[in-house]
Amino acid sequence: MKKEERRKDIVFILYILTVLILAVIYFSVPERTLFLENQMKWWGEFWEVIKNFIRI
């Protein structure tokens, strides 16, 4: 039982490490900055619309 749990721990650490590495790769592609900028612009515009509606 203990051996199985230890094995699970190792697999879990390996999985988490893989997830972290893939996250770094995914979020560090050069286009991500532009992608996030576009989304910020979308949400900025959305916030303006909400503010206008509240004012009305």
Partner: protein, 684 residues
């Protein structure tokens, strides 16, 4: 009757027919609750209901050429009443053989109680886990947001306007499912398209006499897809909490979120494929380790039937349908062979006989017949009319052309940036999503970070774990999904292979179940990525400014031309004028003739698809004019300075010189004109 009354009547018709149709099948399936889980009965009722919709529309449209709202309503209500009566009668016989009339009421009460209890139970599981509750809340907000966007905006996407909506427009205007004369490339595409899902789009238009919710059609498939992943996860013996995690995370795939409000068919195709696999998952080879279970399988015809119906709908939904069916059939064949050899070792000769004869017969009757029945028509029709079942592409086997098509190979080549990359590099490039925004048919993105960061390693890790253990269920489902993914011609294009995300979601659920005590970190990563997707899956085609503008417009004014989605704007800008004019002025009973190949056919109909459109072109004015009369044309759309424009101008010049023929001058009265187009009222 006022237009308000008519709209209310149409809405009542739509709600009642849907309520009767799906609830009658659910009540019918309730009898099978020993074989079918709650989720499977819901999915099964959806598949049976969808099959009924397709069959009744085909019956009225192909055979009787009377596919109109009233006949369709009456036929479906009648069928549903028969199904309901049969289900209740059979239940009364099974549960209370005496003549106790109250037993039907108890039966219905049981059904309502079960739905209530199951909903409360599932919500209590969600409520107990804060991370799961947060993911569910994001999901719920997204669904409400998508419904709001669908209501606010018309169907604006490229393929919807190009061929999905025109294909239902042609059916609605003629009441017949038939090929239209081939005048342009798009007519050919519309004619040869397998239309099962388009018939579902039609279902969501015909009663309401409006396209207002037609773009919500795929959202239904998204929700059923989530339910299917949940059901598959339970069959893989994942704890219920993790099954809910899997199913909700499946939703946080940008291409699914973006396509849910479009009249594309990609979500529908992938979800129906997952449903077909789901109904095959009852029947594992390890069940045949004991002879009793083998006999029990005889009673599970309903499962094979549901799988067959799903595969049939899939076959008739997209030209790539045969590929899905070949893989599913291959999986059945391999599994049956394994079962046969497993059982041969342990069972008596009587059982062997059952395996060899009856099982083959069962699959023939309950799987392959429904497959051909639900999807075969479109291919047989193409074969008869165009000598090729798929028509637009060559069908080759080992470099031998069996059926000649219009195109050789894949119509949709890979974008230049990935064209020279190897298959694996192409996939990695697309999965890394090196794009500036998400779009419903983006060819270089769509799976989102959950796929790349959590699901992809999840599949790999779980496979390593599974290889040492005999997990037949997972190997069977994942085998089908992976094989289809590998042989699919454009598997780099995310919208064609949405089903593979289902495998990722299941693998992640299995891993959560496996790690169990260490779940916390993974759950938090999942929540962060779901939140990221929730915040970034916005389409640049629908900017907040447009949302505000459309809220202030009246429903009739909310048109594609006013939305001007950025990806069609460059191509369609010069068309907006006459699109708006048509949506404001062309009404029921009008026939609009056009003389050129427009960018999109869809805007030539009004939003209720209540007018008719017809392509009329001729080499001579007299003949053209005669054809306009023969087709009872009320309006003519022409290009400015086209041949037709010249004819009309000449005639006007001639008539104006002959003052006594003044009455004839109104034959072509210009009622709309811009730089490029003219619309004229045609007086007969």
């Amino acid at each position: 009757m006022s237009s308000m009354d008519i709209s209310s009547l149409n809405l009542a018709m739509y709600i009642s027919v849907n309520l009767f149709l799906f609830s009658s099948w659910y009540i019918c399936l309730y009898r099978k609750k020993n074989y079918l889980s709650f989720a499977d009965r819901l999915i099964g009722a959806f598949i049976l209901g969808l099959s009924q919709i397709i069959i009744t529309e085909m019956l009225l449209g192909v055979l009787f050429k009377k596919l109109f709202a009233v006949p369709l309503f009456l036929v479906n209500i009648s069928i549903s009443l028969v199904v309901l009566a049969l289900a209740i009668t059979l239940c009364r016989h099974e549960t209370c053989p005496g003549k106790n009339k109250n037993s039907s009421l108890y039966y219905l009460e049981d059904i309502f109680c079960e739905i209530k209890d199951e909903t409360i139970r599932i919500f209590s599981i969600i409520r107990k886990d804060l991370v799961l509750f947060s993911i569910f809340s994001l999901f719920f907000i997204s669904i409400c947001w998508l419904i709001f966007l669908s209501y606010l905006f018309p169907s604006y996407t490229w393929d919807s306007l190009w061929y999905h909506l025109p294909s239902i427009g042609y059916i609605l205007q003629s009441g017949a499912i038939q090929d239209t004369p081939l005048y342009s490339f798009i007519d050919m595409v519309i004619n040869v398209l397998p239309k099962n899902i388009d018939l579902f789009f039609l279902w969501n238009t015909i009663f309401l006499k409006s396209d207002i919710i037609v773009d919500l059609s795929q959202l239904v498939f998204t929700i059923i897809g989530i339910l299917t992943i949940y059901s598959l996860a339970l069959k893989l013996k994942i704890q219920e909490k993790y099954a809910i995690y899997s199913s909700l995370l499946f939703f946080f795939t940008p291409v699914i979120i973006q396509q849910s409000t479009t009249n594309y068919v990609d979500i529908a195709v992938s979800v129906i494929f997952l449903i077909a696999i789901n109904f095959m998952m009852y029947d594992f080879p390890e069940d045949y380790a004991g002879s009793f279970k083998a006999i029990e399988m005889k009673d599970k015809k309903i499962l094979i039937l549901l799988s067959g119906l799903s595969s049939g709908i899939l076959l008739g939904s997209k030209a790539s349908g045969p590929l899905f069916v070949v893989v599913l059939s291959g999986a059945i064949l391999i599994r049956e062979l394994i079962k046969h050899f497993n059982s041969a070792k342990i069972t008596s000769s009587k059982h062997k006989e059952y395996f060899l004869k009856d099982r083959f017969l069962h699959y023939l009757i309950y799987f392959f017949v429904p497959v051909l029945f639900m999807g075969g028509y479109w291919y047989i029709k193409n074969w008869v009319l165009y000598n090729n079942p798929i028509y637009n592409t060559d069908i080759t086997l080992f470099n031998i052309t069996i059926f000649k098509g219009v195109f050789k190979g894949i119509i949709d080549p890979a974008p230049e940036v990935i064209n020279n990359l190897s298959s694996l590099k192409r996939l990695l490039y697309v999965w890394l999503e090196r794009v500036e925004y998400y779009l419903y048919d983006s060819r270089l993105s769509g799976f989102g970070p959950i796929w790349f960061i959590l699901f992809l390693p999840g599949i790999l890790f779980y496979y390593i774990y599974v290889l040492k253990r005999e997990k037949h269920g997972f190997l069977f489902a994942s085998g089908i999904l992976i094989i289809l993914f590998l042989i699919y011609p454009s598997n780099w294009n995310t919208r064609y292979v949405i089903y593979i995300v289902g495998l990722g979601a299941l693998s992640f659920g299995l891993l959560l179940d496996y790690f169990h005590k260490r779940e916390k970190a993974l759950k938090i990563v999942a929540l962060i990525l779901a939140l990221y997707t929730f915040l970034t899956a916005n389409s640049p085609a629908i900017m907040p400014g447009k949302i505000r503008e459309f809220i202030l417009l009246s429903p009739g004014e909310r048109t594609v031309a006013r939305l001007a989605p950025f990806n069609i704007d460059i191509h369609a800008r010069q068309e907006y004028g006459y699109w708006i004019w048509i949506s404001n002025n062309i009404s029921e009973g009008d026939t609009l003739a056009f003389t050129f190949e427009p960018l999109f056919l869809s805007p030539l109909w009004n939003r209720g698809f209540s007018n008719k459109i017809v392509y009329i072109r001729s080499d001579a004015y007299k003949e053209w004019s005669k054809e306009l009369k023969m087709n009872n044309v009320t309006h003519v759309l022409i290009r400015t300075n086209s041949v037709e424009d010249g004819w009309i101008k000449n005639e006007k010049r001639l008539l104006s010189s002959l003052w006594w023929t003044g009455a004839l001058r109104e034959k072509f009265k210009v009622i709309y004109a811009d730089e490029n187009y003219k619309i004229m009222r045609f007086g007969q």
